[in-house]
Symmetry: C2
DNA sequence: CTCGTTTTGTTCTCCCGTTCACAAACTCCT
DNA sequence: AGGAGTTTGTGAACGGGAGAACAAAACGAG
């Protein structure tokens, strides 16, 4: 069962994958400031991580640095972008154009980072008149045709929790294989489909836990 | 330096703390369905985790189950809520009432989970006329007085990235010790202040990475 | 009361991720 | 050309978390 790795396609640890976008952003910032070269120490400081960790992370991609010198900002930026896959544009559909859906649709940070919102879908017909961020809000029934037309593989769920699972199943059936879920629900999906959840309430509750402990014993606390 | 643990205040692993809110939500769901007792197996399935992991997590809080029976839903729910600190109400301020700030202000999930938005602040005077979710949008200059008046310790940053660090420093100076940051910036704060970040673009980029790899070698993929 | 059944709480082992520390490699200066 | 000074890439130690597996405890049947 020895997995072949014919060309590249090394397997990068999940923790590293999660940090690569942070490095990418840090490098973009450095490039905008006119920096052409940086050491692992500088980049690590900008990205807010340990420099040894940064170097090890980058070493999974290859040897893109020069000893005694550092990394070429533009070159490294491209290499990370290529590895993540954001040199190409990823089409994205957003389902559930309520409070949160509106904010997401209007968010310019998607476009600048390799994602293109191709459709906004909502089950409520009264929403369908609306134009948000230059896109019509369309019927959820159009999901399949839109996914097929634009070859969409990434979907965002911003519906109420009760609707989320049905939406997810319909997405998967339509051919979507990556889901970003904002609804506070556990989604169970087939193998081969990735789900990531963003849960605001959980984040606040984690902060509350630490806050409560600070009140009792003002010890050392820190969170990534 | 042997840390005293006079009463409770055991130190719960960070990974466990991050899951407790998930269990809390699962228990609330079970309670609403009329379930009064559940096994670790059932609860784990509802929360989407391994049952051994669930039991170990709960064991950090104490022995709240009954062998051969399971857990009392309402009792366990209260114990977790108490441990996290959401039996009390946490006052929260939101800074930056743009696209995202509006969505957050209108989100009812805060209130129902022990958080109360006490103020909405924005630097743009043209926003100050507005009323969002029953609250006036007030000047950022009012931060200190609001924090003092309501004893706020949790702040949410929803400003553009360039403003985020200045806002964070001002929050910390005002006495806030926990920050939830939506701006794509690394915040450096003094010890004793917790920062958690929510970064949409990073989540999407992680999905894109896995998506790209699926296209090359359709192997096994899964993300929590 | 005793035995069998169920389910918790915990121990043990393995794996992943973090960090330290250092040799290898490159540049620059003399 | 050679040596001093930097900085990368990585081997190795360490710590924490995940999951399997099991003993202890509670309960019910007879
Ligand atoms: N608003 C926030 O700041 C916030 C924060 C964290 C989490 N969330 C979560 O995000 C989700 C959306 O929040 P919101 O405040 O935007 O809610 P919302 O009620 O404003 O919007 C939900 C939208 O989804 C649509 N919808 C409902 N069922 C649907 C279906 N089956 N298919 C397609 N569309 C459907 C509704 O018509 C509505 O427009 C919720 O699950 C909420 O818990 C929101
Ligand atoms: N909209 C989204 O869906 C989304 C998604 C992910 C991340 N983000 C991030 O969240 C942040 C907010 O996004 P947005 O779309 O709401 O932006 P926005 O421009 O709509 O809103 C930003 C608000 O912050 C206010 N502001 C600016 N400087 C301020 C200061 N110094 N003090 C107080 N208020 C100030 C502005 O007046 C404005 O009202 C950004 O950093 C963005 O990158 C947004």
């Amino acid at each position: 069962m020895t997995a072949r790795t014919p060309d590249s396609a090394r397997d990068i640890p999940e923790a590293t994958v999660a940090r690569l976008p942070v490095y990418l952003r840090a490098l973009t910032g450095l490039a905008e400031d006119g920096t052409t070269t940086c050491s692992s120490e500088e980049l690590a400081a900008t990205a807010g991580v340990n420099s040894a960790k940064l170097r090890k992370d980058l070493s999974y991609l290859g040897s893109y640095g020069t000893r005694g010198v550092g990394y070429d900002v533009e070159y490294l930026r491209y290499q990370i972008a290529r590895e993540i896959g954001v040199t190409q544009d990823w089409p994205v559909v957003i389902v559930g154009i309520g409070n949160l859906g509106h904010a997401l649709a209007n968010y310019s940070g998607f476009r600048s980072r390799g994602f293109r919102v191709v459709a906004l879908l909502d089950a409520d017909p009264s929403r369908h008149d609306e134009v948000v961020a230059g896109l019509d809000v369309r019927s959820f029934e159009d999901l399949e045709s839109i996914v097929a037309e634009h070859d969409v593989s990434i979907g965002v769920i911003a519906t109420p929790a009760v609707a989320a699972h049905a939406v997810a199943e319909r997405m998967v059936a339509a051919g979507i294989t990556s889901i970003l879920n904002f609804a506070p629900t556990v989604l169970s999906v087939p193998d081969g489909v990735d789900v990531r959840k963003v849960d605001l309430s959980i984040e606040l509750q984690i902060l509350a836990y630490h806050e409560q402990r600070k009140a009792v014993s003002p010890g050392s606390e820190d969170v990534s």
